[in-house]
């Protein structure tokens, strides 16, 4: 067994950490308050190659391991969870499906621009009546000559506000459930593609989450991704990878909260000593340190399995479930360690607390993760 990152992964981690600490962390509270998209930061991350880490060199990416990408998401999220999920959505949900299911032509057309950050990707699956249950999808795609004509709407689409490209899921066979769904590559300047205003959210406020509406939107037939009626498989495969990255995001948030709580417990004096000397606080710190380490091992192991080309569905679900729930629990605990100060907007722990919650919900709720894990444990 080997628990070390290799030299390349360490260099990538150190660079992203250094960048995140110097360029992102100082503005994270401001981004959270304003809900503004971090345009400048994304431009710099593009220049550094952070938007194409697991995409092979031949398609304009960096060609590093999936684990390198996971470590980068962790470090970005440690400074700013919004930036973490913007990069995650772009890479795991907007780019990887094209890499895994696209034709050679689609890969050559889109991946170099995605990997260089010239265009930003998103993923349109969720609908108002189709969240965890994709079978209820009401967006339909109908063939008309050389085009598909798409009608319907999506909600809660991360990156939708700024994305240039969306991997869109629509029903191509009304009679069938999940087996009637297909995936499409849609560019934002398509006629009939309408982006709603950014949602006002509890956390990850600088990530532009919007509704998408399609009114007689025509896209060429060659923009079908994968085979007709195999969209659900593409969505599930994509989310398997995305879940590892959301686990990494949760891990970054938890790590930031843990560091804030540790630092505070050394500074804050009550009863004549730093509160970190009190057993009540020490137990919080010890629990956090232990479970964050466990979450990190689960997350890195799932990424490692993916890099080895082995099955990782169950491990990805476990990593996401454990890391996201740990993040929620410990960001709350970090506020507890801060006492009244932690409740004040002035201290960043409240931001971590608000940012953590969504990791238990998107890319499969904790309940769905438990379902995936149980199905894999019991019936495989």
């Amino acid at each position: 067994m080997n628990f070390n990152l290799n030299e390349e992964q360490k260099m990538i981690r150190d660079m992203v950490r250094h960048f995140a600490e110097n360029e992102i962390k100082p503005v994270a509270d401001q981004l959270d308050r304003s809900g503004e998209f971090p345009t400048e930061i994304m431009k710099k991350l593009s220049e550094l190659g952070v938007l194409g880490i697991p995409i092979p060199e031949e398609y304009g990416g960096i060609g590093s391991s999936f684990l390198s990408y996971i470590v980068a998401i962790e470090e970005l999220s440690r400074a700013c969870a919004s930036t973490g999920v913007i990069v995650e959505t772009h890479t795991s949900l907007g780019s990887e499906p094209i890499l895994d299911f696209g034709t050679e032509e689609q890969k050559r057309k889109y991946l170099p621009r995605l990997a260089s950050g010239q265009i930003i990707g998103s993923f349109g699956l969720t609908e108002s009546n189709a969240g965890s249950d994709a079978a209820g999808m009401q967006t339909f795609a109908v063939i008309d000559g050389d085009d598909y004509v798409i009608n319907g709407s999506k909600i809660f689409i991360s990156n939708a506000g700024i994305a240039d490209l969306t991997i869109l899921f629509a029903k191509t066979d009304k009679e069938k459930g999940v087996k009637g769904i297909s995936a499409f590559i849609v560019e934002k300047n398509t006629l009939g593609y309408i982006v709603g205003p950014p949602e006002d959210k509890l956390g990850i406020r600088a990530s532009q989450t919007c509704a998408l509406t399609f009114e007689d939107m025509r896209i060429p037939r060659e923009n079908l991704l994968g085979k007709v009626n195999e969209g659900f498989k593409i969505a599930m495969h994509t989310l398997d990878g995305g879940r590892i990255a959301i686990a990494a995001q949760a891990l970054g948030i938890a790590q930031a909260a843990f560091e804030a709580a540790s630092e505070y417990s050394k500074q804050r004096v009550q009863f004549g000593q730093p509160i970190g000397k009190l057993q009540g606080i020490q137990w919080h710190i010890a629990d956090m340190a232990t479970e964050i380490q466990a979450a990190r091992l689960l997350t890195y192991q799932a990424a490692w399995l993916k890099d080895q080309g082995l099955r990782y569905t169950k491990e990805a679900a476990m990593a996401k479930l454990f890391a996201s729930e740990a993040a929620s629990r410990f960001t709350s605990r970090a506020i507890q360690v801060h006492g009244g100060y932690g409740f004040m907007m002035e201290y960043p722990v409240q931001r971590h607390y608000r940012d953590a919650k969504i990791t238990e919900i998107y890319e499969g709720t904790s309940e769905i993760q438990r379902m995936v894990i149980a199905n894999n444990v019991l019936f495989r």
């Binding site: 390349e8 260099m11 990538i12 660079m15 550094l48 060609g63 590093s64």
Partner: protein
């Protein structure tokens, strides 16, 4: 054009220095970085390469194998080649022996410009690059804050008490980088991937054509007698009472206790 960058790996500026029972610095759990002034030197070399095009940057360092990390980072930032002097007999010396070993290395490769940092932040030494230039007998400009390089000469700006001094010298020459020269870049991921394929040559005493007596502790003119941490600072004292008495007492304390007036 061939540029050589002298680089030292140092403790992170935020590292907490602790001594063991023999008064040696405890190096476990310490983060290492490229000496920040050497990073300015490297960045400047990369900028010259970007401007002039036909430039080969070789980074030269001396130290344990751990220094390879710093060299890989330099290669990731944009240097072309690197050399690490790694040999126990080369270690434990002083600025003189370091300069002897480094200049002997540099003599073996073509160079037009040598850039180093003005000081190493760990031991505060600011002599090595200067000594290298002296041994190689080339002109040098120190504490440079702006640099313009042309084909066979350079103009270096340095801050002096009354303003800025601009010194022009012909190449080959050596300059040392001062804060303000530039803002070092982050190593881009493409660079990190390429760094693995770039040359990192490891040399020992035998490759330098020097004898054991000329290097390391054998050749050193200086010897470290002891190492200790600065005494922890005491809390300030507040004088209370009449102002006139306070002033008298303050003057007495500054003269007799602090001994600074």
């Amino acid at each position: 054009m061939n540029i050589i960058v002298l680089l030292k790996q140092t403790f992170d500026t935020e590292a907490k220095i602790q001594l063991d029972s023999n008064n040696n610095v405890i190096t476990d759990n310490i983060q290492y970085i490229i000496n920040p002034y050497d990073e300015f030197a490297l960045e400047e070399a990369i900028r010259i390469k970007e401007k002039l095009g036909d430039v080969i940057i070789t980074v030269v360092s001396m130290g344990p194998r751990k220094v390879e990390e710093a060299l890989r980072q330099a290669l990731a930032m944009g240097a072309d080649k690197s050399i690490l002097l790694n040999d126990e007999v080369l270690f434990g010396g002083d600025e003189h022996t370091a300069a002897v070993a480094l200049s002997q290395t540099i003599k073996q490769i073509p160079y037009d410009l040598i850039i180093g940092g003005q000081v190493a932040i760990d031991d505060g030494s600011g002599q090595v690059a200067i000594r290298v230039a002296e041994i190689l007998d080339i002109p040098q400009v120190n504490l440079v804050t702006k640099l313009d390089v042309e084909n066979n000469k350079l103009a270096a700006h340095r801050q002096v008490e009354v303003g800025t001094e601009v010194i022009e010298v012909f190449l080959p020459a050596m300059i040392t980088a001062q804060k303000g020269l530039n803002e070092p870049r982050y190593p881009a991921l493409k660079g990190i991937m390429q760094a693995k394929k770039k040359e990192l040559k490891i040399l020992g005493l035998a490759d330098l054509g020097l004898t054991e007596n000329q290097v390391g502790s054998n050749g050193a003119n200086l010897k470290v007698i002891s190492t200790f941490l600065p005494a922890p600072r005491n809390a300030g004292r507040i004088l209370s009472g009449e102002i006139s008495e306070n002033v008298q007492e303050l003057v007495r304390l500054l003269r007799e206790e602090a001994k600074i007036i």
